[in-house]
């Protein structure tokens, strides 16, 4: 495809392509292989932490249950949609590469455009997923030992939000805001309920019990989190030290702290790849419109960004499996 390449076939004279791929494409593959190793390192360390806390790791199905514009409990549906969007945008990318081989400029432009739209939808979805994860939905309390205690309704077996049962005790402290202080600094964040309010609420509501992080390893409830009896719950709540709502890098209401850390880190790193992929696609998109590759005589550049784009899709397939399915 390179018309400028010399025809001499001697090994050290240059112009020799034993792998049948151009320099640029080979370098893209070099990068992708090393990037694949980086991602593998992250996912392997996720596996390490998970195997280490195998009995207490949060269950993904109970964490990612939301779909935008729909109320209710729909585990997996939205991530499945995101996966499909990314595979779809991969398809339009190959179609762009294919059209490039046939030198059909307008087809390349349209397929690149669709690819960019797909990427943008994916990044947007991921932002939404993060926002939902960070704001949390039920709330929990943390014990002295850093364990998370969640609440369930003993009758229905459904999760109970703090707002459903916590008592409002007047005369509790209020959040310190910027205008009230000597220093112009606001307090980071005060949870909606204090530990005291949660404790009193638990005592007052006989149908609320505590669910701990521990997963049953055998027996009838294997694979489910342990639910305490009413007596055990009243005993356990005494160990609580703070109220946790949503997730941050220190703690999260879903369970193990490392879970949120890895979630932010790995999906964040992947999201950054998608974002940079979109930016690179946009650059190439304009180059195609300007006719750069038409003049150059080939669309190999589209093929190279295509490789990067498919790689992002490839990584997502693994992230999807290890974060949401397994």
């Amino acid at each position: 495809m390179d018309s400028t390449v010399a025809t001499e076939e001697n090994v050290w004279g240059g112009g020799n392509r034993p792998l049948g791929a151009s320099y640029g494409k080979l370098m893209m593959w070099f990068f992708l292989v090393s990037d694949a190793l980086t991602f593998s390192g992250f996912l392997a360390s996720y596996g390490f932490s998970r195997f280490k806390f195998i009995e207490t790791w949060p269950i993904a199905d109970e964490v990612f249950t939301h779909v935008p514009f729909f109320h209710g409990n729909y585990p997996m549906i939205y991530v499945a949609f995101m996966t499909f969007i990314l595979i779809m945008s991969s398809v339009t990318m190959v179609l762009a590469v294919d059209a490039g081989h046939k030198m059909k400029k307008n087809a390349v432009i349209w397929y690149m455009f669709l690819t960019i739209i797909g990427g943008a939808i994916f990044v947007g979805s991921q932002a939404w997923e993060w926002a939902t994860f960070i704001s949390g939905d039920y709330g929990a309390v943390e014990t002295k030992g850093g364990r998370i205690l969640q609440f369930v309704n003993a009758e229905t077996g459904k999760r109970a939000a703090l707002a459903d049962f916590a008592k409002t005790i007047p005369d509790e402290r209020v959040e310190h805001n910027e205008p009230n202080g000597v220093w112009f600094e606001a307090e980071p964040y005060v949870p909606s309920y204090s530990v005291n309010e949660v404790m009193e609420g638990l005592k007052a509501n006989p149908n609320i019990v505590i669910r701990t992080e521990a997963i049953h390893q055998e027996g009838e409830h294997e694979g489910h989190k342990t639910v305490l009896t009413r007596e055990q719950s009243l005993e356990k709540i005494k160990e609580s030290t703070m109220v946790v709502e949503g997730a941050n890098l220190y703690r999260n209401e879903y369970g193990s702290r490392l879970f949120a850390d890895f979630f932010f880190f790995i999906t964040g790193f992947h999201g950054f790849h998608v974002f940079s992929g979109v930016v690179i696609n946009i650059i190439i998109f304009f180059n195609v419109i300007l006719g750069t590759y038409e003049r150059r005589g080939h669309y190999e550049m589209v093929e190279k960004v295509g490789l990067y784009w498919h790689f992002v899709d490839l990584v997502w397939v693994f992230v999807f499996t290890f974060f949401y399915l397994v």
């Binding site: 080979l26 596996g47 195997f51 195998i54």
Partner: protein, 127 residues
């Protein structure tokens, strides 16, 4: 590249007429595999979550196998490794596979050991 696209997948079981057709065919296949994964993830058949192989649930092994299948078709057909020289393909594929398998083996064994220390080694963590 006056491309000689290889137009057959599933070891020649399915042969497409053009490259574009093959791309759509692969998309359908990947979508079906993803749908199976999601369905299994939602239903979680008891037979698969309560039987284990090498210390992991059978269901998880199925997920990992399906993931590798998807990865194969993305790399082979979307990243057109199928059309590259076999020397290039092998260099790209086996290097990471070897290194990752090595790393995962070491880390997971170590993690399991740490887990056992936590469980049996008089370490109190639930308080």
């Amino acid at each position: 590249m006056a491309h000689g696209h290889k137009l057959e997948i599933f070891r020649g079981l399915l042969k497409f007429k053009s490259n574009t057709q093959k791309i759509w065919g692969v998309l359908i296949f990947l979508t079906v595999v993803t749908a199976i994964e999601v369905a299994l993830g939602i239903i979680k058949p008891r037979a698969l979550t309560h039987s284990h192989f090498l210390g992991m649930k059978l269901l998880n092994w199925i997920f990992i196998a399906l993931t590798l299948v998807k990865a194969y078709y993305i790399a082979w057909d979307f990243m057109h490794l199928r059309d590259e020289k076999s020397s290039l393909r092998r260099a790209i594929v086996w290097t990471p596979i070897f290194l990752v398998a090595y790393l995962v083996f070491i880390l997971l064994f170590e993690a399991d050991y740490v887990y056992n220390v936590y469980r049996d080694g008089f370490v109190k963590w639930d308080f």
